[in-house]
């Protein structure tokens, strides 16, 4: 029998970006909030030895321990799902700050088109443009409604950037100027301008200069050390929850973080949730934490897993298309790239920052005509300089040996002599891409793992090919001696790293029949449960998701305060 603790106003499950933002907003208003975090505490001092590629990038120091919990995966329902035994395609964060600690800091707003993607597609191309098995739907919110929350997140994080000529209207400029421009980025800028495209500096959470945010948090400028993604920032320059929102919540005296606390069930009576049951992983004790409001803010997979294990919300059934929990799982299509090898040019590409780069959005969203194309949407194209580290940076031109004398000569020669122009393709939802509980594999506590059913579709193959061609065209103008580019996307493969941008499963919308949460991320079925994160995305755009997660978290915080005052559905 679980030990029962005194009731609090709000309990938050998972203290990363979403949990941290909500904690800071609610505690500022005087609510008593408990944050349950299953990992350990993290702080900037932990990263004294962070320039260690083996420990952090190859041995996954900051990632979830897969021996305790992982996911299972299959390409389609005819195949037996098997556990992801080792890391590959995406990296699950762990500990205070979650994936917000090991991100790159690329902070894009989604396009106005994204939020009304179904309506806009039908309006411009007709219903037949959307394949029968694609589960495209509007988000139940428009860009203009979300804009003020984007602005808040960007000011919280101190985003460094400049106006994107092809994006939605901004109410204010970025709080800090763009990052520095490397020679490779200048080459990209020159060529894309000549091609009449619209290059702009990648919006960056790495901080171009020292910055004090509206909460009074002061952070130092980025030093371009080249260790962002998979690493924590030793300077606190990269915005993450631990150096921004969490200390603000702590300072109110209203926030209590309990680390090593693994939430295993959301408790429900009638049409309300009453709190959560969690296991103290240091003692094994089961503890019940009652609360007036429960906010589910873990990573995408655990948001869905906890709802399904707790019997909250109606599970999605791909055969009937009914139910909502687990629906519209989407990802990112990032393989449409081109790599150029330069025999006579060497670059400082060992230096960099996670969100250092130049971008064009001319082939993103509906910024170009799709009438004669067999896909919708698109992706950003960028030249980014995130810092090339030596174990994972062994470039050789296609078809050349991958070990031995010639390999060594080439990989040493080209280590600083190649540039990539890469796309980040959007990922549309399909009726048979979904998440549910695995029938056989369990975690360390005997609970079922989440199961992913997902593969690339014709939409993805066409889009990736198209974007690879565009990348190649840009790269040609930059004058490399040799170019390799993606020819075929191939099937989705969980063994090679692609992107930690998993989305969907508890999606937002205007209709309770086709969405799980309203546009404040409040569950339609349960008024006092909010589910916040990229799990709310009905599809994934051709950008990194964090800015949109942050904006939605600010909006959800407002929704929670509204609910506390008036009860019921806040929309």
């Amino acid at each position: 029998m679980a030990r029962k603790l005194p009731k609090v106003d709000v309990v938050i499950i998972g203290v990363g970006w979403a949990g941290g933002i909500i904690a800071s907003e609610l505690t500022k208003k005087g609510l008593k909030v408990v944050g349950l975090e299953r990992g350990k505490e993290r702080k900037t001092e932990d990263y004294f030895m962070v320039h260690d590629e083996l420990r952090y990038a190859l041995r996954y120091e900051l990632m979830q321990d897969l021996s305790k919990e992982t996911i299972t995966f299959r390409g389609n329902e005819k195949v037996r799902a098997l556990p992801m035994r080792q890391y590959g395609s995406f990296l699950l964060g762990d500990g205070l700050g979650g994936s917000g600690v090991h991100w790159n800091g690329q902070t894009f707003r989604f396009l106005p088109y994204d939020f009304e993607i179904y309506s806009k597609t039908v309006e411009r191309y007709g219903k037949n443009k959307i394949p029968a098995d694609m589960a495209l739907q509007d988000w139940g919110i428009k860009y203009d409604q979300l804009e003020p929350y984007y602005d808040r997140f960007e000011k919280l994080a101190g985003i460094s950037g400049e106006e994107n000529p092809l994006a939605g209207k901004r109410s204010d400029k970025y709080p800090t100027p763009p990052m520095k421009k490397s020679p490779a980025m200048e080459m990209f800028e020159k060529v894309t301008k000549q091609m009449k495209l619209h290059p702009y500096m990648m919006p960056s959470a790495n901080l171009s200069e020292s910055y004090k945010n509206p909460d009074g948090i002061q952070r130092a400028a980025c030093q371009y050390c080249g260790y962002c993604e998979r690493f924590g920032c030793e300077y606190g320059a990269k915005a993450d929850p631990v150096v921004t929102v969490i200390p603000v919540a702590n300072k109110t005296g209203n926030f209590e973080i309990r680390t090593h606390s693994n939430v295993r069930r959301i408790l429900k009576t009638g049409d309300k949730v009453t709190g959560v049951m969690y296991t103290d992983v240091t003692t094994g004790e089961d503890i019940e934490q009652p609360a007036d409001i429960v906010v589910l803010t873990s990573y995408v997979f655990n948001n869905i897993r906890l709802l399904l294990m707790s019997d909250v919300g109606k599970p999605y059934d791909p055969n009937t298309g009914t139910g909502v929990i687990g629906k519209n799982y989407a990802y990112q299509v990032i393989k449409g790239n081109a790599v150029g090898f330069f025999d006579d040019k060497e670059f400082n590409t060992f230096a960099g920052a996670g969100a250092l780069g130049m971008v064009v959005d001319d082939y993103n969203g509906d910024n170009f005509d799709h009438s004669n194309l067999n896909f919708i949407h698109g992706g950003m194209i960028s030249l980014s300089q995130t810092g090339l580290r030596p174990i994972q940076n062994n470039p050789v031109p296609g078809g050349k040996p991958t070990w031995g004398k010639e390999f060594k000569a080439n990989s040493v020669k080209y280590a600083n002599r190649f540039l990539s122009v890469a796309s980040q393709g959007s990922s549309m939802p399909f009726k048979r891409h979904y998440l549910d509980l695995d029938p056989s594999y369990k975690d360390a506590y005997g609970d079922p793992l989440i199961r992913i059913t997902f593969d690339f579709e014709e939409q993805d193959r066409q889009m990736a090919k198209f974007l690879a061609t565009k990348c190649t065209d840009i790269l040609k103008g930059m004058g490399p001696n040799h170019i390799d580019s993606m020819k075929d996307l191939g099937p989705y493969d969980i063994t090679t790293y692609q992107s930690t941008h998993n989305t969907g499963g508890v999606i937002m919308g205007a209709d309770p029949a086709t969405s799980a949460v309203n546009n404040y991320l409040q569950m339609w079925d349960v008024d006092n449960l909010f589910v916040v994160g990229a799990s709310a995305f009905p599809h994934n755009s051709g950008y990194n998701p964090t800015d949109t997660v942050g904006a939605l978290a600010y909006r959800a915080a407002e929704g929670i305060l509204k609910y506390r005052d008036q009860g019921g559905q806040v929309v």
Binding site: M84, G236, K251, I391, W403
Partner: protein, 246 residues
Amino acid sequence: MAEQNKENPESLSRRKFIQNAGFTVGGLAVGGIIGSLIPKEKKTETKVSQQKSEDFNQALMYFTPEQYQVVDAATERIFPEDDHGPGAKALGVAFFIDHQLSGNWGFNAREYMQAPFFRGEKVQGYQGRLNRRDIFDIGIREMQNHSQAVYKKDFTELSGDEQDAVLKDFEADKVDITTISPNGFFQMLRSVTLEGAYSDPLYGGNKNMDGWKMKNYPGSQMAYADIIDKDFKVVKPQSLKSHMTH
């Protein structure tokens, strides 16, 4: 070839940076490597003996001497010594692999190893029940068996070309083994060779930072803010050890 500069380009020493890099919320320190990492007193100059000390790291934690020799020879074929600089042997790669196998990585300690086990599709990744220690034990023994079967010699007694032929048979799954995937073992050996060549020397490979020097990789530097917008420049490498003395 780019000109080699004598000094590291960053203008900030770690100590100075630490002192500048605090961040506060209403006067409350919320992070930063302030305080705890700054030595309380300035170090007193100690005369360090210039004598070359013995490398106590170069002993075996896991491999038998025979296993060590096979791995030492095989990794040298994967990453050979050439005009650019040392190969796997001189970089200490076999010691690095031995040390890695002795710990978490060798036991797959942070990976999901629960039953049931099924053969999956390639896109589903490794589904075996063996850990990396088992795979290395079997893989090395099978390299010896294959060398004996084809050349009637141990792997270490083969010529370089013959060793390459054995490795290629593993890479192409042309060796008949039922317990492990020959290609899977080869790919693991290749990846861990590169890890040994290019990881921080604290792990026992990349001896003398020679792997980094070949690639003009500067290792662990505090800042590139001064060179990020400039043309390529060689930066003298430093390892994590150098952080300990700041």
